[in-house]
């Protein structure tokens, strides 16, 4: 599929149609076509034709889409960064990505308000093997990792989605995830290539429930993609039912374990809608498996499967010897196919550790436990210390490394607070380099504030325990089991 051309055709043929709605602001396909092309001409004029990434920092403004498409039209992949990412981490992302330029909605508006680029655009359009976007995820050493997704990766993902969901024209896609998270790639690009409308939920909506439900009710959403946590939150409101969103016909839930009771509640409240569970790491372009979940499936299996592999790819379950295990046996989930990333930007070491080639295809070790039964894949948790907290992928080591980088901290261990089998929050156990004045609560408050300068808010532990020493196990490592007992 010629992705960019497909999007542009909506702008040419249906210029008035609304491509994006965010906080009362509407962006038409015509304006998206015009603005992204004009921005691309500027970028092509100002930047060397070297495929260097362009960072686009903002939240849900329509200019974000203009920035993404403008960059790729100019032959540069983009790096989406949400305003929730603190400046220190933004700096590290820009450096790791090798970005020459960072755009913001204001900067994009300024460029477009100024004179048009003086030279005709002469740039090599992105080829299938070229990076299209880079999305940064949590890295275990405290350094964010930039996953490189090529045009061919994205193409493979979108072609699958189009076939799986039989999307028509006039769909309204809910955009809940910030553009920093690749779940947003699903709603954004499925909407843009089908001439749909992307309806953004903002951070501001999330802490103002009345405003959130008013926005949802007015959205006319037909395709809902989010984490299970978000839809579970929405279900707290008893009027969150088909009557509020009568056109809603498809839920695609991904990013964390989908509990069976949540599926039952959704099927109950939205009897006409399909509920799909899907799974995939950023490294395999949003999703690698998906399946429609209905009452029969819930009755057959104790947990909700993450689905069947996408058709052009393979999912293998490897044992400790690096060979596939028998059906029903547990092993590491390995993803193989054209949707697998070409690696982490600027980190050949991490790339070599996680990616390999199998039968001429790229393959990725997910670090997830899984098993295959009846052709369906079931997810069974993480092998390492990465967790999913309300859909956010967090390396506990990332939080620990950033805590230990604070001058007041000597050592730190971070654990998830688990409620009913699911991580609910983070807890930090900290020993101090020197004891500042003030009660534990004040020290914790100050550490939280300092940590917020380094990592996004969702990575800041809610609970802090100031300790004289961290308990050690017999092998001399931090005794996480003992710490977990303190949380129970």
């Amino acid at each position: 599929m010629d992705l960019l051309r497909r999007i542009d055709l909506w702008g040419r043929d249906f210029p008035e149609r609304v491509a994006h709605i965010s906080e009362e602001r509407r962006l038409s396909y015509g304006k998206l076509l015009h603005d992204s092309t004009a921005l691309a001409a500027h970028l092509a004029q100002d930047l060397p034709d070297d495929r260097s990434p362009v960072a686009v920092l903002g939240h849900k403004q329509p200019e974000m889409l203009v920035g993404f498409l403008g960059s790729v039209k100019a032959g540069h992949p983009y790096v989406p960064i949400d305003i929730a990412v603190p400046p220190q981490r933004v700096e590290r992302i820009l450096k790791t990505a090798g970005a020459r330029l960072m755009l913001t909605p204001d900067a994009i508006a300024d460029i477009l308000a100024g004179p048009a680029a003086s030279q005709p655009m002469r740039t090599r359009p992105l080829g299938p093997a070229d990076p299209f976007y880079l999305i940064f995820t949590s890295g275990s050493t405290g350094e964010p990792k930039g996953v490189i997704i090529t045009l061919a990766c994205l193409d493979s993902f979108l072609s699958w989605m189009l076939g799986a969901y039989s999307l028509g024209e006039g769909e309204v896609f809910l955009n809940r995830a910030p553009f920093t998270f690749d779940v947003s790639v699903m709603d954004t690009y499925l909407s843009l290539i089908t001439g749909g409308t992307l309806f953004s939920i903002t951070n501001d909506d999330l802490t103002n429930p009345k405003q959130l439900y008013r926005a949802l009710a007015a959205s006319g959403t037909t395709v809902w993609s989010s984490t299970p946590s978000f839809v579970e939150m929405c279900l707290l409101e008893r009027s969150f039912r088909a009557a509020m969103l009568p056109r809603l016909r498809l839920f695609v839930l991904a990013g964390e374990i989908l509990p069976p009771p949540l599926v039952r509640a959704l099927l109950d409240c939205f009897p006409e809608a399909e509920v799909w569970n899907a799974y995939g790491p950023t490294e395999a372009t949003v999703l690698a498996t998906a399946v429609r979940v209905d009452a029969a499936m819930l009755a057959r299996y104790p947990s909700v499967p993450i689905g069947y592999p996408k058709p052009d790819s393979r999912v293998l379950i490897f044992g400790p010897d690096g060979r596939p295990v028998a059906d029903g046996q547990r092993g590491e989930i390995i993803l193989v196919g054209p949707n697998v990333s070409i690696g982490y930007v600027g980190r050949p070491d991490l790339t070599a550790a996680a990616f390999f080639e199998l039968d001429g295809m790229r393959a990725y070790r997910t670090g997830d436990w899984g098993r295959r039964t009846d052709g369906l894949i079931f997810y069974e948790g993480r092998i390492d210390s990465q967790i999913k907290l309300h859909g956010h992928r967090i390396e506990l080591g990332d939080v620990e490394a950033n805590l230990q980088a604070l001058p007041a901290v000597r050592s730190a261990a971070v654990l998830p607070v688990v409620k009913e089998g699911r991580p609910e929050a983070l807890a930090a156990f900290v020993t101090l380099a020197e004891r500042p004045g003030g009660a534990d609560a004040e020290v914790s408050q100050s550490l939280k504030a300092q940590l917020s300068q380094r990592v996004p808010a969702y990575m800041v532990p809610r609970r802090f325990f100031i300790m004289d020493a961290l308990p050690l196990n017999t092998s001399g490592k931090v005794d996480r089991r003992k710490l977990a007992d303190m949380l129970a």
């Binding site: 429930p209 009345k210 439900y213 409101e237 009027s239 609560a441 809610r462």
Partner: protein, 80 residues
């Protein structure tokens, strides 16, 4: 126990910080004490504590901006 004290107890459990005990006028969202998921936990916690139903779609952030305001909101609901 008065309604407001019970509200603060639930809030304290959810927020995990003594700030909310010390300062009834602390700005919960701007101050980073509560995020959207904390708010959800708080709603569920208060529903369980008081055996009431709280409709999230009725909650304006402004009405829940501080511990004191949340107490006032809940007092009105339970008629205390």
């Amino acid at each position: 126990m008065p309604t407001s004290a019970r509200v603060i107890n639930v809030l304290h459990r959810v927020a995990g910080t003594d700030e909310v005990l010390r300062n009834p006028d602390i700005l919960l969202f701007e101050g980073g004490v509560l995020d959207s998921l904390g708010l959800v936990e708080l709603i569920v916690g208060l529903e369980e504590e008081f055996g009431i139903e709280i409709a999230p779609a009725e909650i304006e952030r402004e009405q829940w901006a501080t511990p004191r305001k949340i107490s006032t909101y809940i007092e009105a609901l339970v008629g205390a």
